[in-house]
Amino acid sequence: MTLDTVKHAEQTPDAEQPWAELGLKPDEYARIREILGRRPTGAELAMYSVMWSEHCSYKSSKVHLRQFGEKAPANDAMLVGIGENAGVVDVGQGYAVTFKVESHNHPSYVEPYQGAATGVGGIVRDILAMGARPVAVVDPLRFGAADHPDTKRVLPGVVAGIGGYGNCLGLPNIGGEVVFDACYQGNPLVNAGCIGVMKHEDIHLAKASGAGNKVILYGARTGGDGIGGVSVLASETFDDAKPAKRPAVQVGDPFQEKLLIECTLEIFAEKLVAGIQDLGGAGLSCATSELASAGSGGMRVELDTVPLRDSSLSPEEILMSESQERMCAIVEPDKADRFLEICEKWDVIATVIGEVTDGSQLEIFWHGEQIVDVPPRSVAHDGPVYERPYARPEWQDALQADDAAKLPRPATGDGLRAQVLQLVSSPNQASKAWVTDQYDRFVQGNTVLAQPEDSGMVRIDPDTNLGVAIATDGNGRYAKLDPYTGAQLALAESYRNVAATGARPLAVSDCLNFGSPEDPAVMWQFAEATRGLADGCLALGTPVTGGNVSLYNQTGDTAIHPTPVVAVLGVIDDVSRRTPVAFAEEGQLIYLLGDTKEELGGSAWSQVVHGHLGGLPPKVDLEREKLLAEILISASRDGMVDAAHDLSDGGLIQALAESCLRGGKGARIVVPDGLDPFVFLFSESAGRAIVAVPRSEEVRFNDMCGARGLPAARIGVIDGTDITVQDQFTLPLAELREAHESTIPSLLT
């Protein structure tokens, strides 16, 4: 067997290399040769190919993502911005919060349980690597048509995987989304987000500095996971027959991850690490090159010291392995023993695999022979950047011209009633309890609000009641009609959801799910959505702190709807002031805040009743969103509202139904003067919410809205056990509940 050492590479400049099989373009391969001044070794080629992939290098999206920095609003809360494992914001009282959303779409289609489970595992390690204790997870999910047979395979598996992993880690699941649309049939979206909490002084960064510091790999043994492509290298470099089989799917071990969390937190508490990085995509290649390039010196790694699960792995494969539940820490020599001791306490395997050098190169050795000698930055950060061509698709105009206003509407109260039932029982609008009851929302004993509340909320300090809230939203239908506006609507909705619970929106993370960047139409959608999101964040004063891009989400030539998912993080000084969704007190007054216009493009009604997608999505007015949020937050702080629910897909009637069902109380509603009952019930105008105002607070609440210029219309009162829309229809709660709650179970069981 010949090892492709650096020396060997120098001596055999013309050796054929499988760069194309590894996904590199000719010019990319040429650039690697230029950087190194020779041909890369097999191990180097493996590292470059994976680190320069779309997934790791963001080569197609980078030029657009820059706007998040360029247009970032001035924000004192931002402690760590884009570029680290996750952003960090100041939430007061010395606490910092880190949060991020990531995708695990493709693996979840192949093996739903494990794909989703390892998706949770990955995002939790990102949060942990910042120095934080993970305190909650969220899971925005999208599946194909609810009644498609494959959805019965994918959805239960994904949900069981997210629950199986997150529940076992002891992380409350406090929010997320479940959306069905045929466009996700062959390509479900499994996004997962995590929040972590730490004190300011505990923030850790991924950097390797200080010559002589130890590089410690700890956690699971390294197996042949996720190295598909690189096996071609193994077969190139090894004379003996085919390499052993490599797993097509990664299996998560949540127990191992739980140990990793507790062990790492104990290590943080004793201040034993100088730098730390989780191992995710691209495994050791990514961790070592990122740590080294962020530090001041170089790094030397003895690859044969890496503990293996499969002894047949080649050095290239070890470098590329994406085995789960591993972390890499930089530790001062005199702290290494204590570090290893804590790992031993938690039954976590830990190995010194190298050290930081005063050189500038990342050098990797295999049984004493050098197989990698690269400038780490060239691997981690100097990947290719594409200015992919983009063009507004020619079908966009026709789509927007196909206005939902022309769709037939019910003319009678009975007709409205029937469509209300149809709406609230449709898969997208129906109760998601079948899914969310499989998630532990109570663990850690700090959950103040969880699904189906507008945002999840956890207490982070039991003494002061300081808390944080998070909501995630995205609407691919809106974004398909207009990606710029669609991205802003996702942001606005998430922002509104956080404010509705009484928390002040602070910062944003996103997961941008799109089709192939090689399709100019998709690239246009991506460019428009990122521009919309960046402009929106600037207007709302909530910076993007980090996120994730998932491209190539398509089946054959058909891309998914452009689906930017936006997570907004908020802070609340005293969680006892949180506002729930439930209408629970008879006699309280129901107010509709904001303006209702006739906006049905992309609406749930157009989808459910007519199977239609066309026209323009609702307009966005971010100044109005800010005002609405201020009113909701003030009203919560001053005890003027006992319940609030934002209006989004499904419009007023959907929100009203949810608040009534949650509280177990009915409502008597009057259609405001000048509004058509149908538009009043089904329009999806943004910037709106309904609130329950105790009678004693009505004057004060009205004065506040009046003084600040927010339209507030009294539309009814909490009462009885029916929802009655005066002169139109009456719907018993029991009938509504049956419609709302039976859909998902009957589709999936």
Partner: protein
């Protein structure tokens, strides 16, 4: 009635956290000398009618498409006697 057993095991290259946890616990319980443990599933099927080649072929297909997830698992079918 005939009994057919389908054994489903994770493929050797796939991580088996359960088997590992069992393996790691053994020394603590005083059991030495076990080099590895893998944990899988065993299905016992009671088959109506004659257990001819056609029936076995059907069970094989059932194992392949349903009882095992061949992305990560291998299986064997055998008649229990």
């Amino acid at each position: 009635m005939a009994r057919v057993v389908v054994d489903v095991m994770l493929k050797p290259e796939i991580l088996d956290p359960q088997g590992q946890a069992v393996h790691r616990a053994l020394p603590r319980l005083g059991f030495e000398g076990i080099a590895d443990v893998r944990q899988g599933k065993r299905f016992e099927l009671e088959v109506e009618g004659p257990l001819d080649d056609a029936a076995l072929a059907r069970i094989h297909e059932m194992a392949e498409t349903f009882l095992a997830n061949t992305v990560i698992e291998d299986f064997t079918v055998r008649v229990d006697s």
